[in-house]
C-alpha cells in the first residue's frame, strides 16, 4: 500500500470515536455490549492492518527521503504556514504499529475487563480518541501537529484517569496528570517558539514558510545550529522539558503513579506502552538538535539515570501492584532517555518497542489479577495465585523475565535483554554526552547497570508476593455478612474477603496476554537479529555523530548485565520466595526507615504538593484579598464615595424613572461633549 493511504490509518479511530460518542449508548441498548465492544476494537484493528500494509510498502529510508502526505491547509498566518501533513517513515510507522497493534490487544482485553462497568460507551469513546490523538502525534509531519497529538493524548489520559468520576481522588489524580503535563508543554511550546524565531531571523532559509515541518526544519536547523551551539543547547533543553513531562522524568514524573487511578487497560495502553514514550519519539525526531549539543545530551543522560534509579528504589516501598508497575515504568523510561542522551537514539526506540510488549503484558496481567481479586490491588492480600490463575501466572512470568532482561549472551534472550543491552552499551561506548569533559553518559550507563539489578529484585518481589508462597493472605480478611446486594447493585465490585475464590479471566482477556507473552519472548530476538531494527530505523549514519556504537570494546557488558539480571532474580527469590516477610506487613510502622521513605517517594511528592497546591492557594488568596479587593477596589470605591456625596443631591431625580434617567444621561452627555469640544475649538482659534 502506498504512503498516501496514511489518512486511512487516522480515519478508522476517529470514526470509531464518533460512533462511540454519538451512538454508543443507543447501540448498547439495541445490540448489547458485545457489538459495541466489537465496534471499538474493529477500527483499531483496521488501522493496524492498513499500517502494516503501508509499512511493508515503504522501503525504509532516512528522514530526508521520507514520504509526506499533504492533506490540506491548517494555519496560514503571515509568512508562517502549518499544513495538515503526515509523515511516513520508519520512526512514525514503528510507532503506528505499536499503537495500533498493542492498542488492538488492549481494546480487546478491555471489552472483557470493563464488561461489568457502567458507561461502557464512554470508556471506548475516550480510548478510540486516544488512539487517534496518539497517531496524530507520531504521524504529524510538523512539530505543531505533534503538539496537537501531544495535548490530545494528555486530554484522553486526563479523561480516563478520572473515568470513575464519583471518587474525587480520581479527579485530583487526573488534574495532576494534566497540569504536570502542561508544565512539560510549557517547555515544549517555548522550544517551538524559539525554533520559529531562530529560523525566521535567517532570511529566506525556508522559502515556503513551513518553519515547523520536519522536512524543511531539520536541515535548516542543522545548518543554523552548527554556527550556534548555545542555541542548540537551549532548544534541546526546552524540548527535553516537554519530553520529561510526557515521559514522566524527574521531577515531572509526579503525575504517573497517581495516574494508576484509571482503569487498568488505560494504565497498560496509555501509561506504559504508548503515550509515556512520546518523549522518546520526540527526541528521536529532533535528534539533530541533540547531536549538536553535548550539554543537553548530558543533561538528558543524567536525568534519565537519576529517574531510573529513583523510581526503582521507590518501587520497593510499594504494596499496590499497579504502583510497583508504575514506578517500574518511570524507571524504564529513564533507561530510554539514557540511550537518547548518549546518542544511541535507535536503542531508545528499541526499548520503547520491547517495553511496549512486556509492560503492556505486565499491566494486563496485573489487571487480570485485580479483576480476579475483586478489585483489591494490595499485594499483601495476595499469594499462591498461580494455583487459581495459571495463564496469567505463566504469561506474567515471561513478562517478568523480559523486563529483567534475562538472556544468554550470543544465544537467546527475552525482549528486554536486547534493548537494555543496546542502551547500556550505547551509554558506555560513547563520549557524546559530556559537560566539561566529565563523561556523564558513561556514568549514567554504570548507574543503569545497577538499576537493572534493582529491577530484577523488585519484579521478583512482585511475582513472589502475588503468585508464589503457600499462604493465601486474603483468607485472613474476616468475611462480611452481605446485607442484600441491592445497595451495591450499581457498584462494580463486591469486596475481597476470606470466602473469595479467584477465577481465571475470560478468553477476551487472556488471549491478549498470550500474544504479548509471545512478543515478550521472541520480539527482541527477532528485531535485534543482524541489527534489523537499527538498520531499519537509522539506515544511514547520524549526520553529526556518525556511527554510534552500542558495543563497548573494553567492557564485558553482556556478562555484567547477565549477572545483574540473574543475580537480581536470585536475590529476590531468596527474600520473597516464601511469601510476605513480616517486616513488610500491613503494620507499616514496623517497616524499615528506608522502605517507609521509599513508600513516600522520599517526601518529594508531598513537598511539591504542599509548595504548589497549598502555597499557591495561599498566594492566590492573598493577592485576591489584598491587592484586588483591598487596594484597587479600595481606590475605586473611595473615589465613588466622594462622588456619591454629589450624587445625593441628584438622587431625587432618579427614583423609579429609569427611562427618564437614561434619557437624561444621554442628553446630558452629548451636551457636555459638544460644549467641551466647542470650547476647545474656540480656544484653538
Amino acid at each position: 500500500m502506498n504512503y498516501e493511504s496514511i489518512w486511512l490509518v487516522l480515519l478508522f479511530p476517529i470514526v470509531g470515536f464518533l460512533v462511540q460518542a454519538l451512538l454508543g449508548t443507543r447501540i448498547e441498548k439495541m445490540f448489547g455490549r458485545r457489538v459495541l465492544g466489537a465496534l471499538a476494537v474493529l477500527p483499531i484493528l483496521l488501522s493496524f492492518a492498513v499500517g502494516l500494509m503501508i509499512t511493508l510498502g515503504t522501503k525504509g529510508g532516512p528522514e530526508a527521503s521520507a514520504s509526506i502526505a499533504q492533506l490540506g491547509h491548517w494555519i496560514d498566518a503571515g509568512n508562517l504556514r502549518i499544513p495538515f501533513e503526515f509523515i511516513v517513515d520508519p520512526l512514525s510507522m514503528t510507532m503506528v504499529l505499536i499503537i495500533t497493534g498493542i492498542g488492538t490487544l488492549i481494546h480487546l482485553y478491555a471489552t472483557g475487563y470493563m464488561s461489568e462497568e457502567r458507561e461502557y460507551a464512554r470508556f471506548f469513546t475516550y480510548m478510540n480518541l486516544f488512539i487517534f490523538s496518539m497517531l496524530i502525534l507520531v504521524l504529524g509531519a510538523n512539530l505543531l501537529l505533534l503538539f496537537v497529538g501531544w495535548e490530545g493524548v494528555g486530554l484522553c489520559s486526563y479523561l480516563l484517569i478520572g473515568f470513575w468520576y464519583k471518587d474525587i481522588a480520581n479527579s485530583k489524580a487526573a488534574n495532576k496528570a494534566f497540569i504536570v503535563n502542561r508544565i512539560g508543554d510549557w517547555g515544549l511550546t517555548l522550544g517551538l517558539l524559539l525554533i520559529i524565531a531562530l529560523l525566521m531571523s535567517q532570511h529566506n532559509l525556508i522559502a515556503d514558510g513551513r518553519y515547523l515541518s520536519y522536512d524543511s526544519m531539520l536541515p535548516a536547523l542543522k545548518s543554523v545550529l552548527q554556527a550556534n551551539p548555545i542555541m542548540a543547547t537551549a532548544i534541546g533543553l526546552l524540548l527535553f522539558v516537554g519530553a520529561a513531562g510526557k515521559s514522566a522524568q524527574f521531577p515531572l514524573y509526579l503525575w504517573l503513579p497517581d495516574a494508576m487511578a484509571g482503569p487498568t487497560p488505560v494504565s497498560a495502553l496509555i501509561h506504559a506502552a504508548t503515550m509515556v514514550t512520546s518523549g522518546v519519539v520526540l527526541l528521536n525526531r529532533m535528534h539533530i538538535v541533540f547531536e549538536m549539543s553535548p550539554v543537553a545530551s548530558a543533561v538528558i543522560c543524567v536525568i534519565g539515570a537519576f529517574t531510573a534509579l529513583f523510581a526503582a528504589l521507590i518501587a520497593f516501598g510499594q504494596s499496590d501492584i499497579k504502583k510497583v508497575l508504575a514506578y517500574s515504568t518511570v524507571s524504564q523510561l529513564g533507561f530510554m532517555f539514557i540511550a537518547c542522551g548518549s546518542g544511541a537514539y535507535w536503542a531508545g526506540m528499541f526499548h520503547v518497542t520491547t517495553h511496549a510488549f512486556f509492560k503492556a503484558l505486565l499491566f494486563l496481567g496485573a489487571g487480570a489479577v485485580i479483576h480476579a481479586m475483586a478489585h483489591n490491588q494490595d499485594m499483601r492480600n495476595y499469594g499462591n495465585l498461580r494455583k487459581y490463575l495459571p495463564i496469567t501466572f505463566w504469561t506474567m512470568i515471561l513478562g517478568t523475565l523480559a523486563i529483567c532482561a534475562v538472556g544468554i549472551p550470543g544465544v537467546f534472550g527475552f525482549a528486554g535483554f536486547y534493548s537494555k543491552e543496546a542502551i547500556l552499551g550505547g551509554a558506555l561506548a560513547n563520549t557524546h554526552a559530556q559537560i566539561e569533559g566529565v563523561q556523564l553518559g558513561q556514568i549514567s550507563g554504570w548507574i543503569g547497570l545497577g538499576v537493572a539489578a534493582l529491577t530484577s529484585i523488585y519484579m521478583t518481589r512482585l511475582t513472589c508476593l502475588t503468585f508464589l508462597g503457600k499462604e493465601e493472605r486474603w483468607r485472613n480478611i474476616p468475611a462480611e455478612t452481605h446485607h442484600g446486594d441491592d445497595d451495591h447493585a450499581d457498584e462494580h465490585h463486591h469486596v475481597l474477603d476470606a470466602n473469595h475464590t479467584p477465577k481465571e479471566v475470560s478468553p477476551s482477556m487472556w488471549i491478549p496476554l498470550v500474544v504479548l507473552a509471545l512478543l515478550s519472548v521472541g520480539g527482541g530476538f527477532m528485531l535485534a537479529n543482524n541489527g534489523v531494527f537499527e538498520h531499519w530505523l537509522y539506515p544511514n549514519d547520524l549526520p553529526v555523530l556518525g556511527k554510534v556504537s552500542t558495543e563497548p570494546s573494553n567492557i564485558p557488558l553482556a556478562l555484567y548485565s547477565t549477572i545483574a539480571a540473574v543475580g537480581g532474580i536470585l536475590l529476590g527469590l531468596a527474600f520473597y520466595a516464601k511469601g510476605l516477610p513480616k517486616n513488610q506487613d500491613f503494620d507499616e510502622s514496623k517497616w524499615s526507615g528506608l522502605r517507609r521513605a521509599e513508600r513516600d517517594q522520599f517526601g518529594f511528592d508531598n513537598a511539591m504538593t504542599v509548595a504548589t497546591v497549598d502555597g499557591g492557594g495561599d498566594i492566590a488568596n492573598g493577592l485576591w484579598q489584598w491587592f484586588d479587593i483591598g487596594l484597587v477596589d479600595g481606590i475605586v470605591l473611595g473615589f465613588a464615595k466622594v462622588s456619591g456625596g454629589i450624587g445625593l443631591i441628584l438622587k431625587r431625580c432618579q427614583t423609579g424613572y429609569i427611562r427618564l434617567y437614561a434619557l437624561m444621561m444621554l442628553v446630558g452627555f452629548i451636551g457636555f461633549l459638544s460644549y467641551f469640544a466647542y470650547a476647545l475649538t474656540q480656544g484653538g482659534r
Binding site: 496560514d76 468520576y165 464519583k166 510549557w186 524565531a197 492557594g617 475605586v636 459638544s674
Partner: protein, 534 residues
Amino acid sequence: MMLLSVITFLPLAAALLLMLLPEGKAKTIKQGALVATGLTFLVSLGLLTKFDSGSYAFQLSENHPWITALGVSYHLGVDGISLWLVLLTTFLSVIAVACSLKVETRVRAFMACMLMLESAMLGSFLSLDLVLFFVFFEMTLIPMWLLINIWGGEGRAKAANKFLIYTFAGSIFMLVGIVGLGYLQFQTTGELSFDLVKIQEQVATGKFWAGALTTEPFIFWAFAIALLVKTPAFPLHTWIPDTYAESPTAGPILSSVMVKMGTYGLLRFCLPLFPDTLPNQVPIMVTLAVIGIVYGAIIAAVQPDMRRVMAYSSLSHMGFILLGIFSLTRIGLLGGAYQQLNHGITATILFLLIGFLYQRKGSTLFKDYGGLKSQMPIFAALFLIAMLSSVGLPGTNGFVGEFLAMVGGFNAAYNHQFSLGLIVVAVFGVVLAAVYMLYMFQRMFYGEVKEDNKTLLDLKGPEIALAGVLVVFILWGGLAPNTFMNPMQTSLNATLKMSTGKAGQRPVWTDTDAFIEAKKETTHRLAMTAKVNP
C-alpha cells in the same frame, strides 16, 4: 446602499418599536426581539458577500457631514479588522436574546436594553469618526448599567456603580484624547476634523506629530487607559468580576463582545495613530498584558463562584490578545485579532452553560454543586468542550489564536523589542489556565451528586442546539482557522505598516494604490499557498 447604517440601527429601531408595545405582551416582545436580532444577523451576513478581503481600504463606507461646525462627520466603514467583530456581535446578540427568553420582570425594558446595547456595539465597530465612535462607545454604558442594576443579582447596586465609575473615568481620558487629536488636526491642516482616515493621512506623512512629539505619548495614554479599562487589563480590571457575577446571563455574553471594543480600539487607534511613540509604550503594554495573564489565572483558581472564575479568566485571556497586538509583528497581530473572536465564542458558551445551571438552581457557587457528571451528562460533555477551548487545547479555536499571539510575542522579544522573560512567563499562563479550569470542572462535575441536586434535569433540545452551534464554531475555528483569518490579513498588515513604518512610507486608508498593492500581496500569498499544497 446603506448596509452599514442598516446593520447598526436595525436593533435600535426594533428597540423603539418594542417600547410601543404594551408591557403585558411579554411573549410578543420576546419574539420581536429574537426576530430583530436574527434579522440583523442575516443582514450582517451580507457583509461577507460584499467584502473584498484583498483590500485594506474601508469598504461600504458612508460619509456625511454631521455637526459641521465641529467638523464631526457620520462616517462608517468596515475593514478586515472590524468585519468579524460585527458578525460576532450580531451572532452573539441572537444567542444572548435566545437565552434570555425566561426573563419575567420588565421584559420590554430588558429586551430594549439588549437591542440598544447591540446597536451601540455595532456602531463602535463601524465608526470612522472619533466623535461618532465615542458616542457609540458611551452608548453601551447605559443599557449595560441598567441590565446590571435592574435584572442583576444581590450585589447588583455595587456592581453597577463600579462599572459606571470605571467606564466613566476611562471615558474622560478618551474624550481628552479625541479633543486633542481634533485640535492637532486643525493645526496641521487648518480644518477641524475628527475623521480617523483624515487624521491618519496626516500621521502617515509625519506632519501630524511633527510639532507635537511630546504630546504624542500623552494622547496615546489618554486613549489607552480608556480602552484598557474596557479590555480589561491589569490593574484596571476589578469591575469585571462584579459585573459578570451580578448581571443576568445575557449580560456577560454581551460584555464578552463589549470588552472587544477595548482591544478593537487599541488596534484601530492606538497602533496607527501613534507610530512615533509606539516603540516606547510597547514594553509597558506587554508587561501589563503578561501580568494580566498570570495574575488573572492565579486569582481565578481561588474564586468561589463560576462567573467570577470566568471574569478573571477573561483578564487572563485578554492578556494574550494584548500580547499579540503589541508584539507588532504580522503573526502576533493576526493571533491577537483572531483571539478576539475566539474568546467571544468560548466565553459565550461557558456563560451560556453556566446560565443554564443558574436557571435550574439559582446559584453559580461551587459549594452548591459537585457530581453533576452523572446527573447531567450532556451538560457535562458540552462544558468539557467549552473548557478545552478555554484552556487552548489544539484542535479548538482557542489554541490557534493564543499560539499565534505567542509566536508574535516571542519573535518580538527575540528581536529585542522587550524582555524574553515576559514571554516565558506568558507561556506559563497556559499551565495556569489548566489549573483553574480543571479545578472548576472538578468542583462542578466530580464526586457524588448532592441530595438536593438529584432533581436537576439535563439540557433539553433548544438548549443543546444553542450550545451546539457554538461548539461548531469552536471546532471550525480550531481546524480551519483560515476561514476567519484570511479576510483579516490584508487590513492587519496595513495597520502594522502604519504603526511601524517610517514617516512618509506609511500606507494610508485612502491611498488609491492601496488596492493594487494589496492585490499583489494576496496573489503572492496564494502563490505561496499553492507551493505548500501542490
